[in-house]
C-alpha cells in the first residue's frame, strides 16, 4: 500500500492543515498554502479534510501506485494523466495498481493538491504531518519529495466514488493579475505617506523567489521610510526595527526595495519593518500566484477583513456539505 516517486516535480511536499501554536518556538504553521484546495481534494475522496496530501508546485511529480486507489486533484490547472490518459481535475478518478500518475505543465494557478483515498501515512510531528523543509520537520523525512521515495498509505476506507466532482460554483478561478487585500498596520507609520499611497496604487510583479517561506515582489517604486535615529538594538537602515515576530501574511520591505509576503513556512521573526498583513482569506490566493504574474495591493479595514473571512468560512461550509 504505497506509492513510489518516479520524478519528484519542482517542489512537491506532503502537507496537511499545518501545526499551529509553535510559532513562539520559531516553528511556523506550514501546511498547504492553498488550504481551500487541500480541503476540497480530501473531501472529494471522502478523507478527513485535514488528511496529508501531496502539494505540487508548478511542475507535478510522477508517481507509481502499487495499489488501486481513488484520488482527486484540486487547485492549479495541471491535467493529471494515468498511464498517459488525461483525467479530470476537481473530480475523483481511479489509479489502478501498477499504473503511473503524472501531470501536464501548469496552465493556471501554482499549486495542485493531490488527495489519495485513505491519506498518506507519515509520522505526525508536533500534531501535524506537514513538511517544514527549512526546519527538517514533518512530511517525508523533513524534506521535499525525491525520486525513489516510497510513501506509505493508510488503509483505503472505500468511501471514494469515481466521478464525484466539485460543483462549478466551488471551482476556484485563476487569473494572471491578482488583487490582495491588506490590513495596513504595525510599522506602516514609518513609511512616508506618499510612499504608502504609491504602494497601493502600483502593479507589483511576483519575483522568481516565491516559495513556501515567502513571496517577493518586484517592479514597483522602492518604498521610502522616514529617517529616524535607530533605537538601541535595531539596525541602521530605516527599514530595520528591533527584532520582532512576523505574523503570517505580513509584508516586510527590506531596504524598502522589494516587499515580501510571508507565507506558511515563514521565519518567525527578525528585524525588518512590516507595513501590513495580507488578510487570511487571501493567503490561499497568494499560494496560487505564479512568478512573473501581477499583483495589486488593496487596503481594507478590520471589518472588511472579518467579512472576507466569514465569506471564506461559508465556502468551506459549502465544500463540507457538497453532495
Amino acid at each position: 500500500m504505497s506509492i513510489e516517486i518516479i520524478k519528484p516535480g519542482l517542489a512537491s511536499s506532503i502537507q496537511d492543515k499545518g501545526r499551529e501554536g509553535h510559532y513562539h518556538l520559531g516553528i511556523p504553521p506550514s501546511g498547504g498554502m492553498d488550504q481551500r484546495s487541500l480541503i476540497a481534494a480530501n473531501l472529494l475522496v471522502g478523507n478527513p479534510e485535514g488528511a496529508a496530501v501531496i502539494e505540487c508546485a508548478l511542475m507535478g511529480p510522477e508517481l507509481r501506485f502499487d495499489t488501486t486507489r481513488k484520488v482527486a486533484a484540486c487547485g492549479a490547472e495541471m491535467t493529471p494523466r494515468v498511464n498517459g490518459e488525461a483525467q479530470p481535475l476537481n473530480e475523483v478518478f481511479e489509479v489502478p495498481a501498477g499504473s503511473t500518475l503524472g501531470f501536464d505543465f501548469v496552465k493556471a494557478g501554482a499549486r495542485l493538491y493531490l488527495a489519495i483515498e485513505g491519506g498518506i501515512d507519515v509520522p505526525e510531528r508536533l500534531g501535524s504531518r506537514s513538511t517544514y523543509a527549512l526546519g527538517s520537520l514533518g512530511g517525508m523525512q523533513g524534506r521535499t519529495l525525491q525520486a525513489g521515495d516510497t510513501l506509505a498509505l493508510f488503509q483505503a476506507h472505500g468511501q471514494a466514488v469515481s466521478g464525484r466532482h466539485l460543483p462549478p460554483s466551488l471551482v476556484p478561478e485563476f487569473s494572471r493579475q491578482y488583487q490582495l487585500r491588506v490590513m495596513p498596520g504595525l510599522y506602516a507609520h514609518r513609511l512616508r505617506a506618499e510612499s504608502e499611497t504609491r504602494f497601493y496604487s502600483e502593479d507589483w510583479v511576483v519575483a522568481s523567489e516565491a516559495d513556501r517561506i515567502g513571496y517577493r515582489m518586484k517592479g514597483g517604486t522602492p518604498l521610502s521610510f522616514i529617517e529616524r535615529e535607530p533605537p538601541f538594538g535595531a539596525g541602521d537602515d530605516p527599514s530595520n526595527i528591533v527584532d520582532a515576530c512576523y505574523p503570517i501574511g505580513s509584508i516586510q520591505v527590506p531596504s524598502g526595495s522589494e516587499p515580501i509576503i510571508l507565507h506558511r513556512d515563514a521565519v518567525s521573526g527578525g528585524g525588518y519593518a512590516m507595513i501590513g498583513t495580507v488578510i487570511s482569506a487571501d493567503m490561499d490566493t497568494v499560494g496560487q500566484i505564479q512568478p512573473h504574474q501581477k499583483v495589486r495591493f488593496v487596503q481594507v479595514t478590520l471589518e472588511e477583513a472579518l467579512a472576507a473571512r466569514a465569506h471564506y468560512q461559508k465556502v468551506l461550509k459549502q465544500l463540507r456539505q457538497m453532495p
Binding site: G235, C245, G249
Partner: protein, 248 residues
Amino acid sequence: MKPGIETTQIEAIRIKIRIETAAMDALMVRLFDTIDEANMAWVIAADQALRCAFGAALIDLVPSYTTLLVHYDCQQMNHAEALGLINKTLSGLEPADTQAGELHDIPVWYDESVGPELPLVAKRAGLSVDELIQQHCNHDYCVFALGFAPGYGFMGLVDEALATPRLKTPRRKVAAGSVGIADRQTAIYPLLSPGGWNILGRTNVPLFEYAKRGEPLFRPGDKVRFRAISREEFEADGGDTTPMEERP
C-alpha cells in the same frame, strides 16, 4: 483607514503599553522600545499572564525583545474583547523571576576556519583573538526570544566593546552550529541557513532535534554560557570541522 493604536499602562512600573492591530486576528503588544536585559522580567511575565488569560482562545503568543504578538481565535473572541483582555491582564502585571530559566553550557570551537570573523571582531574591539574568546565566554547571556529558525535563540547582551554590525552582504550559507555576533546580540545558527552575523566559532550542541527532544533546547528567559574547547575536543564530540567556505 489606519487601525488605531491603543494604549494601556502597567501600574507597577508606569510604562505605557501600546497595542497595535497586526492582523484581523492578531495584536502586537509593545512594552518597550529598546533591548534591555531588565525588560525580560516584564516580557516573560506578560507572556505567562496572557497565555493564562486567553486560554483556549489563544492560537499562538510570540514574545520578542520588546513586543509580544498575540494571535487569537477570532471565532471565539472579537477584536474589542481581545484588546480588553490584554488591558485587563497587563495592568496589574508584576515582573517574573528571571532566575528561573535554565543555564546552558555551550562548548564552542573558536577558530578562524569555522569562525571567519574572529580577527575582524577582535581588531574592532582592540583585543587579541584569545582575549576576544575569553570575553565572549565570560558572560551569561540571556535568551530574549526564539525565532528566525527552529531553535534559534536571540541572546544578549554582548559586551559593548565586542559589538559588531551585521555583514554588509549576508552569506548564503552559514553552517549549522555557527556562533555569531550582530551588534550586541549573539546567537547560534541551528541549521544550515543564510545569515549576516559575524561568525566566531562552531558548536556541536543540537538546538532543535525533533527526534531527540521534540522541542528547541532554549526557552526565553534561559541563560547561556559559552565555553571554549579545542579542535580535538570538538572532533571527539562528533563536531563538523569543515571550514566555512564562503567569504562575505
